[in-house]
Amino acid sequence: MIRLDNVTKTLSGRKILSELSLSVEEGETLVLLGRSGTGKSVTLRHIVGLMQPDHGKVEVLGKDVSSQNPSILTEVRKKVGYLFQDGALLNWLTVKENVALPLIETLGVSANEIEERVQRVLREVELDSHGDKFPGEISGGMRKRAGLARALVCDPQVVLHDEPTSGLDPISSSIINQLVNQLKSTGITQVLVTHDMNSAFEVADRIAMLHEGKIQALGTVDEIRNSKNPAVRQFLEGEVTGPLTHGTLDGGSDAAEDRNEVS
């Protein structure tokens, strides 16, 4: 379903992804874990063709998105939903208009169908009574759910989530996790980037841990939870010193830094 082969990406002279190879099977939910700046969000952006690898190949739904062929990108993106960290809603449109946007602008479906599909996804994310509000009038958790509704309104085969629970209270996080699990039960393929261990264990079929642009560990929830890999242990236990910090208190750069390098 999704395949990254030896993907390398350098931004501002720093290697973010280093010959990364990864595959996600149909219906699977893969969680990408790792410290900030280790290339998790960059990996998602390669999957959806927002970034082009320096080397390597990215295939989604059997199409080579790393070729940056506009017709391939359009075809693939119609089948992929993407939940951004802060929802990325347009603030001059209401929640309902935001959710309807891809249907109106790209699919050209009838007004009745748009209304019906928007109401359905808003009900699924429990925002049906907030459709007429603007993004600035709702909470961060609601904005994420609205972003998820927009990602789902075109009935995607793949959904990518960038930090779906970051900055949310535990209850809002649980709501998002529940929604991810509901999507999982419908057979949608999902890739999540998160730092939230509880969330990762709750939703993942497999977990991949990234460090310095490479996969340090890959396995099922139980395999990762019981892993003896020192890097995994350090991350799970939140130790300050260890292989992820090279025995120092060295911190990773913020992921937002990487996003802003996108031209």
Binding site: V48, F84, D86, L89, L101, P102, E105, N260
Partner: protein, 259 residues
């Protein structure tokens, strides 16, 4: 020394990048003009025209009124010393319609709308809304740049005409009160000496300025990097670049007209 050379290199590199990007953006936006036939794009464009006109009317009117009054006061003072104060009308009308109206309006729209376009699109860039549009296969050029470019290009000549009219009105008040030139004498002198070419060049300049301000604003917005600081920097650059281009293009258009 090395630091200064590096800084100069960075500045030149960034300038070349934004110039190339801006020209390509303008070309791509021009190619999407047929999309204005789409009802939603047309509605967006009309809404923006309304917002831009209402938002900049007061400041344009006040600046134009006082500019006309200042022109009349200074011009009238010099002419009165030669006993030629009855020529105030032509001087103010020609300078307001051919030069000051388009130039002054362009500077006001640069500061109020050009910086606003850069900040708005820049904020969307850093908050990943532009990426979200691309993932939804919605072209940011058709969706964001086209309506803004067309709206500003149409609003600028309208605001220029209003500014020139208000400026001349202000000048006529000063001419009457300070130099005893009647409204009839003022307007006759203005109308007899104003050529259709003066109006044409004023309108051509305003259209060119409108395209420039919108393109620079959108370019700087789309090139924004680095969060809130980047947005502020994009708005600042949009104002500086537009100011420079308006004054340089204004000179060459006047030169072409007069030659």
């Amino acid at each position: 020394m090395t630091g200064a050379v590096e800084a100069l290199g960075r500045f030149l590199g960034r300038s070349a990048e934004s110039t190339g990007y801006g020209l390509v953006l303008l070309g791509k936006t021009m190619l999407t003009i047929p999309h204005l036939l789409n009802r939603r794009r047309m509605r967006d464009c009309l809404n923006l025209m309304f917002t831009y006109s209402v938002g900049s009317f007061t400041v344009t009117a006040v600046v134009a009124l006082f500019t006309g009054m200042i022109l009349a006061l200074n011009g009238g003072d010099s002419l009165a010393s030669l006993g030629q104060e009855n020529l105030i009308g032509r001087i103010v009308a020609i300078s307001m319609i051919r030069e000051m109206g388009p130039f002054m309006t362009a500077l006001i729209l640069t500061a109020s709308l050009g910086s606003g376009i850069a900040a708005e699109i820049g904020t969307m860039k850093v908050s990943e809304e532009i990426d979200a549009l691309e993932i939804m296969s919605i072209s940011p050029i058709k969706f964001l740049v086209l309506p803004r470019l067309v709206a500003l290009t149409l609003v600028t000549p309208v605001m220029t005409i209003i500014a020139a009219f208000i400026g001349i009105l202000g000048a006529s008040i000063v001419a009457a009160n300070n130099f005893g030139v009647t409204w009839i004498a003022f307007s006759n002198d203005a109308l007899e000496n104003l050529k259709l070419g003066d109006v044409h060049i004023g309108l051509i300049k305003s259209v060119v300025f409108g395209v420039t301000i919108a393109t620079v604003g959108a370019t700087q917005g789309l090139l924004t990097r680095g969060g809130a600081t980047g947005v502020g920097e994009a708005a600042r650059r949009a104002v500086v670049i537009s100011f420079l281009l308006v004054i340089i293009l204004g000179y060459y258009l006047s030169w072409l007209y007069l030659s």
